[in-house]
Symmetry: C2
DNA sequence: TCAATCTATATGACGCGTCATTCAATGACA
DNA sequence: TGTCATTGAATGACGCGTCATATAGATTGA
């Protein structure tokens, strides 16, 4: 039986979905149009920028985003191909990699972040 | 410059993302495992179930979900192939279609909905 | 020191959503 | 009524995320 509590939950869920899709969609389209990177690319870039100077990033990244390990790997592929990030081998553990922003990456991040924050403010109020 | 207001927005956004992905992921996996349909399939089924007896659904569906028109079309393809829904031509406007649950669709929906609501409650608290 | 196991990342096949386009039916208006 | 624009839906190419697996390096314990 469909209780009114169920109705509430469903409504709440749909409202979360709507605000999530609306916001993510708006940011994604804007970043794509102005900077030619998608939302996930930006978010990885953002995480890397947040933690300049610490080691073995890839691993840590996986813990700070809902993305899959393999998704992160592919996002980084694209960022690297775009010349925004570079993978550095890690001396203590040669399985690990850590990431560095290139100059281009740092530059793009800092202007894209402005846009990103503005759209968040606009959409989350 | 990164204001603390910006930090707050980013934190808020990440928290929305996490709760969205956690919830959507949990529901999707559960429905997939127990009923062999994905979250989007269920949500369309749910919308169709909500509005039994009204006409020309396809169109209306697009307005009640963040999915694209073409996404809805493909989800309905799968639901139809799975025998859960059927497309009915609409007499007044032969471009339009409306959807009907099959008996199997109604049955699956009513048991899957229980699971769905339970997971919503669990994840949205 | 050598297996067995575990851990960090990469990769390929696959499914799904998106965009642009297409197609058919409808409406508007001369 | 004939043209032109519009609308509802389907389709194909494409990009991305996921899952399962692969690979290489690390760790453990006998």
């Amino acid at each position: 039986m469909a209780t009114t509590r169920d109705r509430q939950l469903v409504e709440q869920w749909r409202s979360i979905q709507n605000s999530y899709f609306r916001t993510a969609g708006a940011i994604d389209r804007a970043l794509e149009a102005k900077f030619d990177i998608g939302l996930n690319e930006f978010e990885i870039l953002d995480l890397v920028a947040e933690s300049e100077e610490s080691a073995c990033r890839m691993k840590a990244l996986g813990e700070r985003t809902p993305m899959t390990q393999s998704a992160v790997s592919k996002v980084v592929d694209r960022l690297e191909k775009a010349g925004l990030v570079s993978r550095q081998t890690c001396a203590d553990d040669r399985r690990s990699l850590f990431l560095e922003l290139t100059d281009a990456g740092r530059a793009l991040h800092s202007t894209a972040a402005v846009e990103h924050r503005a759209l968040l403010k606009e959409n989350l109020g």
